[in-house]
Symmetry: C2
DNA sequence: GCTGGCACTCGTCGTGAGTGAGTGCCAGTC
DNA sequence: GACTGGCACTCACTCACGACGAGTGCCAGC
């Protein structure tokens, strides 16, 4: 296959130049801007090989070369040096996040920060309920037959639902229910709650059975299952930067549509089990509408645990080292904040 | 000024045709598609007058006519017949909203529905806290020095904040605080709370003063003042439909940016005091970035009261009668749902 | 006041030549 | 064997030109 060091160097130069200029890069321009130590003709030979191997391609016969998805992949895996953030950037991240007043605020700030720093579309998943655990459950009577069920998790997230009860309940009963629920569930990971709460219904006093059953089903349905879904999004306007090239083709619509579908976005974070950044380039995306883009995602959470994902969506032609570094850094800071 | 009935009819025809085809409309095409009963030459004369008055203009010397912002304004004010929704549409709206499980869900469904029906960008403001009143306040101890403060409003909105207390408090004290707060504030409009809660601090028992003071300041800061701001947005991808015309000019970016700025969007609803729909066409928008678009907004709420705004943002070239009817209908249904 | 006719404007489309960046290949050199 | 300089070739892009035609404004006639 013959991909010696110089050929890799050429590929790196092509990727870097193309990302910077957004224009196909030719052999002459390459040797001028990078100290490759060889002539354009030699570079051309290398390019021919790289093209044969599928790492670069020519948009037109008489144009320069452009990296393919495969080329970016090789670049990311083997050629990009980690680009450490400048102290100024670190400070900016910290300052921006530190002022947050509650969980909602942290998520909002994080997503805006990501969008601003990477100049791309940023997505942050709210700390997933199922991966966190119960800190406290509270029942608040609203009327004789309606309760407000509040759950606080260890990531600071608060969820509530109004519950319509099958019949009126006494304050005493509510106190009992509250005690039972808390005794059973506090400290338990949400993923582990379903079997536990089933037992609660069975062991409940006969007269409280109906009420408990209602509460439990609401708890399961809404709090545990449904709320996996929340997301924050920012920087959509950066899509317009993708270049008039892509705009005219009408390629923008499907991307905007995909970004509005929470279900689709959540898929991006399905597999972020660790804090390591994951990069999906162009065709590597399972989501068809995002095949024209690259996605950089990572998990975040207090310490080594992962309670949610965050990342960015941008053109395949992006500054991978810089973007990856930024996403990682923001994720780490947010994780620290969650640890209090 | 000489805007007789036929000239108005010509303007209407121009607006309708242009909205339908997105292309400048000429005199010949007009008489063919609308039974105006006169010849193209006559229509041309009318057009000349309409142009002189500033209601239409020619993109190029030898092209058809296009309505100006002023032309749309006249159309909306005097020429558009109300377009009643089809029963099918009404049913669709109802079916879609009825399944909502809580306030968040209502707002989310409403905004998606609006975007889908109008095929434009939809914005819905969460029921404004300041315009609703307190149904219940609850204090939930999280630890000895931390409380969860929960407020439920009559629009079904639930707000909560964790409060860091100056010192530990006994369960009894919490019960007292809870009773006092509820006795003072339940049923009170949020706008009217500030003077009331100030009194609370002054009248509190000496040993409870510090705690009460903390609670009150959190209540004011966060619950009353800050949370005016929440919005839901949907249908951004419909912007890509604005036509390749507008896309190439790069006019999309500022619009996307404006849509991300919550502060800007909230301005759109500043003045929706009634259920009547308001239409801002092109240059009429105070927000400069939205001068290329039209905004249709209205207030909504249970009965005649207005607790929030909703609306759509789209190209000036839009189906005004249809859009206005849809926005109104959705607002009415959402209002009904809030009344329970 | 409306109409038919007519000259005129001007944007659009297609054609064709010129230009230049970039390539592939080859013979020569170290 | 690897690199280099040279050279012919390709082809997208730009611009100028002319034909075309939709649409207009104006005018004389009804």
């Amino acid at each position: 296959m013959g991909l010696d060091d110089r050929k890799l160097e050429v590929l790196r130069a092509i990727v870097e130049d193309y990302v910077a200029t957004q224009e196909p890069v030719g052999s002459k321009a390459l040797v001028e801007r990078h100290a490759l130590g060889v002539s354009p003709a030699t570079v051309r030979n290398d390019m021919a090989v790289l093209e044969e191997e599928g790492f670069i391609r020519q948009p037109h016969t008489s144009a320069g070369r452009v990296p393919t998805d495969r080329g970016y992949r090789l670049f990311v895996d083997r050629l990009s040096r980690v680009k450490p953030l400048s102290p100024a950037e670190r400070r900016a991240i910290e300052r921006f996040l530190v002022g947050a007043v509650d969980l909602d605020d942290v998520v909002h700030r994080a997503v805006r920060l990501l969008a601003q720093l990477t100049r791309q579309v940023a997505v942050v998943q709210y700390p997933s309920l199922t991966r966190s655990s119960v800190r406290h459950l509270e029942l608040v009577p609203v009327s004789t037959t309606r309760l407000l069920l509040v759950m606080i998790t260890d990531t600071g997230r608060v969820e509530q639902r109004v519950v319509e009860l099958p019949g009126p309940v006494e304050p005493d009963e509510i106190t009992d229910l509250r005690r039972t629920l808390n005794a059973t569930l506090v400290g338990v990971k949400l993923v582990d709650t379903p079997p536990l709460v089933q037992g609660l219904v069975e062991r409940a006093e006969p007269q409280a059975k109906a009420t408990m059953s209602t509460l439990v089903s609401v708890l399961l349905e809404t709090l545990v299952e449904r709320h996996e879904e929340r997301l924050a999004l920012a920087g959509t306007s950066n899509l317009a930067r993708m270049g008039p090239l892509d705009l005219t083709t009408g390629a923008l619509r499907p991307i905007l549509e995909a970004l509005e579908e929470e279900v689709i976005l959540l898929k991006l974070f399905d597999e972020v089990k660790s804090g390591a950044a994951r990069v999906r380039i162009g065709d590597e995306n399972e989501v068809v509408d995002l095949r024209a883009t690259s996605v950089v995602s990572t998990g975040y959470g207090p310490g080594a645990t992962v309670v949610g994902g965050m990342g960015i969506v941008g053109p395949t032609r992006m500054d991978y080292p810089g973007t990856i570094a930024t996403v990682r850094a923001v994720a780490r800071y947010v994780g620290e904040m969650l640890g209090h």
